[in-house]
């Protein structure tokens, strides 16, 4: 595997082997000095055209723990001057010698474009509404860890709730969860679903209440305020009533139901209770697992068969 631009570049076995590699990384991260020389001499360049402190720090930390050299550019898209194309930007950086680009961009497809212009590996750290494969991997890892599962997700029922249409997390998670054998239900009003989900391995529902208590994982997506002005929902209040994790719904969740969120949360909108009071809350584990999963991805792409110390 050269790039990780989309979860579709992995099959179930590929996902599982990355999750197993993540176990090693978790073990390394638990050491007094959580650092191994595995990627010494490799140059990893993070280019964040869209700001995301959390994802950026997670990738930086992952690369450093594997002893790679890391450079990070935060390029506000507005600051890319008009005469310089995206390709110019990449070629300028490429000239410094790059083994992997980690790319975050508000526009779908940018990691694909970049992979046509460079010999380096390209890791997608989130592109538009399209893909966020390391998020999907850390979500899979978190579920696996929390439920003590070793193999796939056969028999697991997962509901992904909210703004599917604009969510790269949803697109990546659907593919990863389904590849591992889970049964996925998308819960959203039709305005927040993509125009067509023909061929997606999912069911859809608008009735969160009928699913609460029946699913093993309740995955809440971030609901952005501007969706109201786009006439996608009448109001955030109505959204919370229909699709939010309210106190009433929280009471009806099983003790073992995992509650997940890709962050940052809109408290009072998609989640109207204190998540720390939910027995199945694994939101903080999602964040914690991010570093280990990204170490696994970097090692897989750049490690060239070197063994982990």
């Amino acid at each position: 595997m050269k790039h990780l631009r989309s979860i579709e570049e992995l099959d179930a076995a590929g996902i599982l082997s990355l999750l197993e590699l993540t176990d090693h990384m978790v073990e390394i991260n638990a050491r007094p000095i959580p650092k191994v020389p595995a990627l010494r001499g490799k140059n990893v360049v993070n280019i964040f055209f869209e700001d995301s402190t959390r994802t950026r720090l997670s990738f930086e930390t992952a690369a450093k723990r594997l002893s790679a050299d890391v450079m990070t550019f935060s390029v506000g898209t507005s600051s890319v001057n008009k005469g310089e194309s995206l390709r110019d930007t990449i070629e300028t950086v490429q000239a410094m010698g790059v083994d992997a680009f980690v790319i975050r961009h508000k526009s779908s497809g940018v990691p694909w474009q970049i992979s046509n212009w460079t010999d380096a590996s390209v890791i997608n750290a989130g592109d538009g509404w399209h893909q966020h494969p390391t998020q999907a991997l850390l979500d899979c890892y978190t579920i696996r860890q929390a439920l003590g599962r070793k193999g796939g997700f056969e028999g697991l029922r997962i509901a992904i709730v909210g703004d599917i249409k604009h969510s790269r997390v949803a697109r990546s998670d659907v593919q990863a969860f389904a590849a591992l054998g889970a049964h996925v239900t998308l819960v959203a009003p039709p305005t927040l679903l993509p125009p067509s989900i023909a061929g997606w391995p999912v069911e859809t529902s608008q009735d969160l209440d009928s699913l609460v208590g029946k699913v093993d994982v309740l995955y809440l997506l971030r609901m952005q305020r501007e969706r109201m002005s786009e006439a996608l929902i009448p109001s955030l209040r109505e959204y919370t009533d229909r699709f939010g994790l309210t106190a009433d719904r929280a009471r009806r969740l099983g003790d073992s139901t995992l509650v997940m969120h890709p962050g940052p949360m809109n408290r009072g909108v998609e989640i109207a209770v204190d998540p720390s009071e939910l027995p199945g809350n694994v939101i903080i584990q999602q964040v914690a697992n991010g570093v280990a999963v990204r170490m696994a991805v970097l090692f897989q792409l750049l490690g060239q068969g070197d063994s982990l110390a």
Binding site: L86, W129, I197
Partner: protein, 424 residues
């Protein structure tokens, strides 16, 4: 000096015959067998037809000369077999005044490769607020008006434009797109955009305006030409309007009958175009429309963009693709039409819509202006962007092998393309 086109199979609206054609002083002087002239253009195995007319060319000059100039675009057109192109008005400044229109026309005359017919804008600066001076521009020879790049959004303004056009001897042409429905849109709305996470460009954004303008044609009695139909429902609406006898004409581009939205799975912005590439079902409907006469013309919507502007994220890259040098080959290779029908769609039918029939698209007959295309329908060639005459390289057909190529183009009696090479 006389020019003789020897041994070709002439196809025009009067039918077909194998004859030689002698051209003298800009007009067809003689048609017959065993003719000779001072200079001979071999046409054995080739089709000799009236020159092609492109209803929809973006030449970019003035204002965007880094993408194309009147001269480079004219050269691409001549190499594609065109003897006339309608130059779209989305220049900077806009072709909404005599001065700009005359500038573009004179740049065309200076290049001397094809007739460049500047289209006028329907509204000042294509801003959709105030009518451009139709009569004044018509008196300067402008015959086609459009805000292409934008649809005229305001139904009242469009109604007035159509009413005011009556009796002026001009054609109004609409870029059908309800912009409120395509805000931020990148590609066809459907399963592909859903998968790729790209904002969808729904078919209905086109169809609503097609429907509106058909109804305005009914109301006002004015004609309307609908640019670049891309959806099956648009084709149906036009078919129904024609069956009712309304004065509605339509065009389709080669890319809309050869490429689908699936091409964008590559995330290559060369496939971003307005209106967007649609589905196989839409392609089939457009092909049927071209076959049954619902769609009157093949138009290129030749839209050059420099490489650096296309090397942007898809949502920022400008829409548009080259078309002049590949249209004939795609029409021959993809439509399954007989040659007469294919040439009609490329030549005399668009000439009539642009009101250029006196000079272009007419029969190969004595006394007619010598605007003639000679093409080899069987020659196969491979598209190499670097070899195209256009100043830009944004062809979606790079590397594709096509059948059929222009051999000679005669514009106003002048052999501007000989054996596939531009002469100026």
């Amino acid at each position: 000096m006389t020019l003789v086109i020897k041994g070709g199979r002439v196809i025009d609206r009067d039918g077909e015959r194998v004859v030689d054609v002698v051209i003298d002083n800009g007009v067809i002087a003689e048609v017959g067998t065993n003719l000779s002239g001072d200079r001979m253009l071999d046409a054995i195995g080739c089709i000799v037809s009236p020159g092609f007319v492109d209803l929809h060319t973006h030449l970019r000059e003035p204002g965007r000369e880094e993408a194309e100039t009147v001269e480079t675009g004219s050269r691409a057109a001549a190499l594609g077999g065109y003897t006339a192109v309608v130059a779209m008005p989305n220049t900077e400044p806009t072709q909404d005044s005599i001065a700009v229109v005359n500038l573009v026309r004179s740049l065309g005359e200076r290049a001397g490769l094809v007739e460049v017919m500047p289209a006028g804008a329907i509204t000042i600066e294509r801003a959709g607020k105030q009518l451009a001076p139709f009569a004044e521009l018509a008196s300067a020879g402008v015959t086609l008006f459009t805000d292409d790049g934008n649809g005229v959004q305001d139904p009242l303004l469009m109604r007035r434009a159509m009413e005011y056009s009556l009796g002026l001897g001009i054609t109004l042409a609409q870029h059908c797109e309800v912009s409120r429905l395509t805000d931020g849109a990148v590609m066809n709305e459907g399963s592909c955009c859903s998968h790729l996470g790209l904002p969808g460009w729904p078919s209905i954004a086109e169809e609503l305006m097609v429907f509106r303008d058909i109804e305005l044609a009914r109301l006002t009695g004015a004609g309307i030409h609908l640019l670049h139909l891309s959806t099956s429902r648009s084709v149906e609406l036009v078919r129904a309007a024609k069956a009712e006898g309304l004065t509605v004409t339509a065009e389709a581009t080669p890319h809309h009958f050869t490429l689908t939205d699936e091409t964008l799975r590559s995330f290559d912005s060369v496939f971003k175009v307005n209106p967007p590439l649609r589905t196989m079902a839409d392609i089939e409907a457009i092909k049927v429309g071209l076959r049954d006469g619902t769609i009157d013309a093949i138009a290129t919507d030749h839209a050059p963009h420099p490489q650096e502007s296309k090397e942007q994220p898809l949502d920022q890259a400008p829409p548009g693709m080259l078309g002049l040098e590949t249209a004939l080959s795609l029409a021959l290779g993809e439509l399954d039409l007989d040659l007469l029908q294919t040439i009609a769609l490329l030549s005399w039918k668009p000439a009539a819509i642009a009101r250029l029939g006196a000079r272009h698209g007419g029969p190969i007959a004595v006394g007619r202006p010598a605007n003639v295309t000679v093409f080899d329908p069987d020659l196969s060639w491979t598209v190499k962007p670097s070899l195209l005459a256009s100043k830009s390289r944004n062809t979606p057909y790079a590397g594709r092998t096509m059948r059929g190529k222009v051999r000679h183009t005669i514009f106003n009696g002048d052999a501007v393309v000989v054996d596939g090479t531009a002469q100026r």
